[in-house]
Amino acid sequence: MTAPIAAQTVADRPATQAEAIRVEDLHKSFGSLEVLKGISLTARKGDVVAIIGGSGSGKSTCLRCINFLETPSSGRIVIDGEAVEMRADGTPANRRQIERIRSRLGMVFQAFNLWTHRTLLENIVEVPVHVLGVPRREARDRAMTLLDRVGLAEKADTYPAFLSGGQQQRAAIARALAIEPSAMLFDEPTSALDPELVGEVLTVIRDLAAEGRTMILVTHEMKFAREVSDHVIYLSEGRIEEEGPPDKVFGAPTSERLKQFLKSVS
């Protein structure tokens, strides 16, 4: 009885599941320094892709090229099946398109980057109301639900500077969720936190992964990456040195560099 069901389950999770993010042959140079030397990656809907690698390997740059916070030198980026129009020099050809795509990608920064002159609630309704045109009431209600979800309901009217790093980062995650993103981009969301605050933020991200959010997660938390991701990419000097399912990348690495790297961080 079980065999047919198992077979059916496999058939039900086809590789043709819609792609949320596709990056093809991405190159990026700062002046004469080539930081990304041809990165390709795909995140299908519901995938959690973890990017790991040493300092300066290009993880942040790669993530920031996806929503054009950095201008790629060349390559192709497709979000939800929509290819970003680029000029020959890699600069985006259509500012409106970039803005539209950015408003579908919820970015969470290492340094939180909440707007300091706005309360948590105001931070969260800002983009839905002003960029996406959601009615204020609706945005507010949704924001309260999200704040509640990250455990900050009673801090709604507090300014970010009066909160701990962990609280600020949870609020920043709520801000990213408020746009109902088709994918979330995390750039080392716990690296700026005191060790005792890391757990509360990871808990929130773990829940998001469990509920099937599409995420690309740059992180130094190897245990966490192994636990939540579907696919791990190891970057080294701007190239993908090794990639695969977490158990394989962490459990049976083949590249010498990755072995060295894993030894150095454990």
């Binding site: 950015r102 970015m107 300091t116």
Partner: protein, 241 residues
């Protein structure tokens, strides 16, 4: 004493009404010029920071020249050049010479001077905004003008206000320079009153007191504005050194 009160009385033959009218004119021009200067300054600061090389060069010439030439000289140049140009244009279009409003001329002339200083103040303030604030706005797809209005201006306020408060005080006092082009602001009215009555000391002291009151009230206003702009930032007093 009786005599002083009569001289300063608000209704003729006292000259107090004239002084107050002069003060109103001065404030009108100062406000207009300050506002015009802020608009120029915001555009200028954005141009200097984000504009192309030609924009940046032109703005550099503007701020350098205005800040290098004495204000009195600039006012004379701008006033005569400005009214000359307007008249030429008007004649070319067949309207004949036009009477230029003193207030409009004053606002235009002082506004251009204020704009140069405001450009530098606001450029510094924009540069002081933590990059993360702007980066977050970009990452969530804010178009440039919305980002300026919703993120950059609020975030730079607390950096800009002390400089702008100074600039406002300079604007109130620079109106006195407009006396050279015969404009009826406070200083000019004071001079007239003084020379008609020979009571120089009384009237200039009175004018000085009026300028002082404006300054004191302005200082209170800007202190409040700064406190408001710093909302969300922990009070400096709580920072332990």
């Amino acid at each position: 004493m009786q005599e002083v009160i009569e001289l300063l009385s608000l209704s003729p033959p006292g000259w107090g009404g004239n002084l107050l009218r002069g003060l109103m004119h001065s404030l009108q021009i100062a406000l207009g010029a300050f506002g015009f200067g802020l608009v120029i300054g915001l555009a200028g600061a954005c141009g200097k920071l984000y504009g192309g090389p030609i924009t940046r060069d032109l703005l550099a010439v503007y701020t350098t020249v205005v800040r290098a030439v004495p204000e009195l000289v600039l006012i004379l140049i701008l006033y005569y050049v400005g009214s000359d140009l307007i008249n030429k244009a008007s004649e070319a279009m067949g309207y004949g010479r036009v009477q230029i409003s003193g207030v409009a001329a004053g606002i235009w002339v002082l506004g251009i001077v204020q704009g140069a200083y405001a450009t530098e103040i606001l450029r510094g303030a924009i540069k002081a905004i933590p990059v993360g604030q702007i980066e977050a706005a970009r990452a969530f797809g804010m178009p440039p003008l919305m980002m300026l209005r919703r993120v950059m201006i609020p975030a730079m306020m607390s950096f800009a206000i002390p400089g702008l408060a100074n600039l406002w005080l300079i604007a109130t006092k620079d109106t006195a320079l407009l006396a050279v082009v015969g404009f009826n602001e406070l200083t000019q009215e004071t001079r007239q009153a003084a020379s008609s009555t020979r009571a120089y000391f009384t009237f200039f002291l009175a004018a000085g007191a009026l300028y002082l009151i404006v300054t004191l009230l302005s200082a209170r206003f800007f202190a409040r504005l700064e406190a408001w702009a710093r909302k969300g930032q922990p009070s400096l007093r709580t920072v332990k050194v």
